[in-house]
């Protein structure tokens, strides 16, 4: 009945996720582990959270520590036991068993313990019980067979009273608990452990068994901090992150343009890789600055520089991150990678993210974490981190330092397949100088530019320039500037040439126009002359005909020739 098993939320950060809801309600759970691994704290947090968050009062039967000791121990986690006791939300009963003061004189049973527990439970209506650690009974009493049967009865009794119990037990040589408590408590067993690898301590928690329920199977790192235990449910089983269509600006307008004009996808993970000094941090600072300006919360995890150092350095390129810190929008978390284990780093990151609830996270550089673990560990941690950030829909900018020795497009820890977008910053050496280049190696789901841009760090931030691609190849820096100057003068020359040509043309046209005008004038004069001649000729003809008529009259000719005004063919035309 995996779905129907009632569970009792512990309120412990992460544990309820691993157990898919909490401990089995109304049943005892065995928490075992070596000395100092946090059994008692886990149990106390279970009680305190029950009393404060879930309205379930609790009883602690402490066989090892007195109520005062317990109270002062958990005071460091911010738990005020005295207050809870005063308000009848908690009973702490120290069960003292001093063997030197006890004489065994015959048969006995643990009925008094039952009465004691029952009385405490009834006095506050407790729903939760912590027995810490019941194995102390074995040290105080000789009759093991009685103890065993009585413990069996005790756990049955707890179940009958529907009490959710945490029973702690010291870890044995080959068994989970020294006295084999796991034989009696079979519903749920949680194993705590701590390991030291290369002087770094990592606490781990594993749910060994959980009858009637699925649960996370792995070892989960956990942290004891000022506000309790945090367990990290590190590996999510499925890839079911929501994909967001919103975009966020990169903070550099030219880079936004390279990303199709809009920037990164919200909730995506962006890798910025590059060799030392290529401007990775500056690029992230732009992103953070833009996000804070929009009023979004950011967390900056730095593994190389301190917060102050970053703020100061970014001021040199005209970005004032300090004001965002003051406004509470930007949270720095700078820590040496070697200060604790990888998983602890991850737990810390989780915790801070849970607290701050940022929309933007920067990890600079993730390669710093390599120093805290092996490569495969780092990779798995990063996978978990990216997973976690995606689940939370947090846009993450992760920088990674590539050493010059290996291929550029291969990050040291090979996390490229995990990320959605990958910016590569690289040195371009030419003409005796070293310049920075930037290009987008990949950007899932974005029509991105395939161009290399020159990446300039100026006193007003990052600038992206087109690189010069000429006959001599790719030019950057002063080479590019030179070439650009050359290009500019060439353009001016060409412009002047054009102007000259246009001038020439103009003049030619003017000359031709003048010629045309002269010719036309000629033509007109010719025409006039011709017209005059024609008119004169016509007059001649008229005169001649009239003369001929007069002559005929004078001779009395009987026939007067028909009048021909125009060119009568008497004597043939003159023209």
């Amino acid at each position: 009945m995996p779905a129907g098993l009632p569970k009792c939320a512990t309120g412990i950060h992460g544990l309820d996720e691993i157990t898919l809801g909490g401990l089995p309600r109304g049943r005892p759970t065995l928490v075992c582990g070596g000395a100092g691994c946090g059994k008692t704290l886990l149990g106390m947090e279970f009680l305190v959270r029950g009393a404060t968050q879930f309205g379930e009062p609790g009883v602690c039967l402490s066989f090892e520590e007195t109520a005062e000791e317990l109270a002062s121990n958990v005071a460091s986690l911010g738990f005020d036991l005295a207050d809870l006791i005063k308000h009848k939300k908690l009973v702490v009963d120290h069960v003292l068993l001093d063997r030197s003061l006890i004489e065994e004189t015959g048969e006995y049973d643990l009925e008094a313990l039952f009465v004691r527990l029952g009385h405490a439970v009834d006095s506050i209506g407790a729903k939760r019980v912590l027995l810490d650690s019941v194995e102390a009974l074995f040290a105080g009493l000789n009759n093991e067979s009685v103890l065993r049967s009585e413990l069996r009865r005790l756990f049955r009794w707890l179940k009958e009273r529907n009490l959710t119990a945490v029973v702690t037990g010291e870890r044995g040589q080959s068994t989970l608990s020294r006295h084999g408590l796991e034989e009696y408590i079979s519903d749920c067993v949680i194993l705590l452990d701590h390991q030291v690898t290369e002087t770094v301590l990592t606490r781990r928690l594993r749910v060994v068994k959980y009858r009637g329920s699925t649960h996370g199977m792995n070892e989960y790192p956990f942290l004891i901090e000022h506000d309790g235990i945090s367990v990290l449910p590190v590996t999510s089983m499925y890839l079911n992150h929501l994909a967001c269509n919103d975009r966020v600006s990169t903070g550099v307008p030219a880079l936004d343009t390279m990303f199709g004009g809009e920037g990164y996808f919200r909730g995506s993970s962006i890798l910025v890789s590059g060799t030392a000094g290529t401007g990775k941090t500056s690029l992230t600072a732009h992103f953070v600055d833009a996000a804070c300006a929009r009023g979004e919360k950011c967390v900056f995890f730095s593994f190389e520089e301190s917060a102050d150092q970053i703020v100061r350095n970014m001021r040199s390129i005209g970005i004032d991150l300090g004001r965002w810190v003051e406004k509470g929008l930007l949270h720095f978390h700078a820590v040496r990678p070697t200060s604790f284990g990888l998983e602890m780093h991850l737990v810390k990151i989780h915790k801070i993210i849970e607290q701050v609830k940022p929309r933007i996270v920067v990890v600079d550089p993730v390669t710093g974490l390599l120093h805290a673990g092996t490569e495969s560990e780092t990779r798995s941690i990063l996978l978990r981190l990216v997973d976690f950030l995606k689940e939370k829909q947090i846009t993450a900018l992760i920088t990674t330092l590539t050493s010059g020795a290996i291929a550029m497009e291969q990050t040291e820890i090979d996390i490229s397949s995990l990320v959605d977008a990958w910016l590569l910053l690289r040195d371009i050496e030419s003409g005796g100088e070293r310049n920075r280049g930037l290009y987008i190696l990949k950007a899932r789901g974005v029509a991105h530019s395939n161009q290399i841009r020159e990446f300039l760090l100026t006193d007003h931030g990052v600038e992206l320039r087109e690189v010069y691609l000429g006959e001599t190849g790719l030019l950057t820096g002063s080479g590019r500037v030179n070439q650009e100057a050359k290009d500019a003068s060439a353009v001016i020359l060409a412009l002047q040439e054009i102007e000259k040509k246009q001038h020439l043309l103009q003049r030619k046209r003017m000359m031709l126009d003048a010629q045309i005008a002269a010719l036309q004038l000629d033509l007109e004069t010719d025409e006039q002359e011709s017209q005059q001649l024609i008119a004169q000729e016509k007059l001649k003809i008229v005169k001649w005909e009239r003369d001929r008529g007069d002559m005929a009259k004078s001779r009395f000719a009987d026939k007067i020739p028909a009048q021909h005004v125009k060119g009568a063919p008497v004597r043939g035309g003159r023209r």
Binding site: L101, E103, D109
Partner: protein
């Protein structure tokens, strides 16, 4: 079920035994324990003991204050040091040793023998 034997007033007499027996109702084991301690007291401490029998079912508050874990438990409150005798008090030699009536056997302070449940 609270019974007082002999004089009720607690005199400051350092030699006088003040004993409290915590039992669970009227189970045979409880009854046996009461019988055993009475016999020991009458035999060895005539007129110099006060015995209080407390049923923890009726007075559960004592269990915590007196640090009772198992039953029956006999608490010797006077003379000092305070000592607890657990079990049904059927092992008279141990009872006597526990109450400092006879010197403790030299071999062991705490017996290794195991009792059947």
């Amino acid at each position: 079920m609270k019974r007082a034997n002999s004089t009720g007033n607690k005199s400051p007499d350092p030699e006088r035994y003040l004993l409290r027996l915590f039992v669970t109702g009227t189970t045979p084991r409880s009854a046996r324990a009461i019988r055993n301690i009475r016999a020991v007291c009458e035999d060895h401490l005539p007129d110099r003991y006060d015995l209080e029998v407390i049923d923890i079912y009726q007075h559960p508050e004592y269990v915590r204050t007196e640090q009772i874990i198992v039953t029956p438990t006999l608490v010797k409150q006077n003379p000092l040091p305070v000592r607890k005798l657990i079990g049904d008090l059927s092992d008279t030699a141990r009872v006597l040793a526990g109450l400092d009536i006879v010197p403790r056997p030299l071999s062991t302070g705490t017996p290794e023998t195991k009792h059947a449940a």
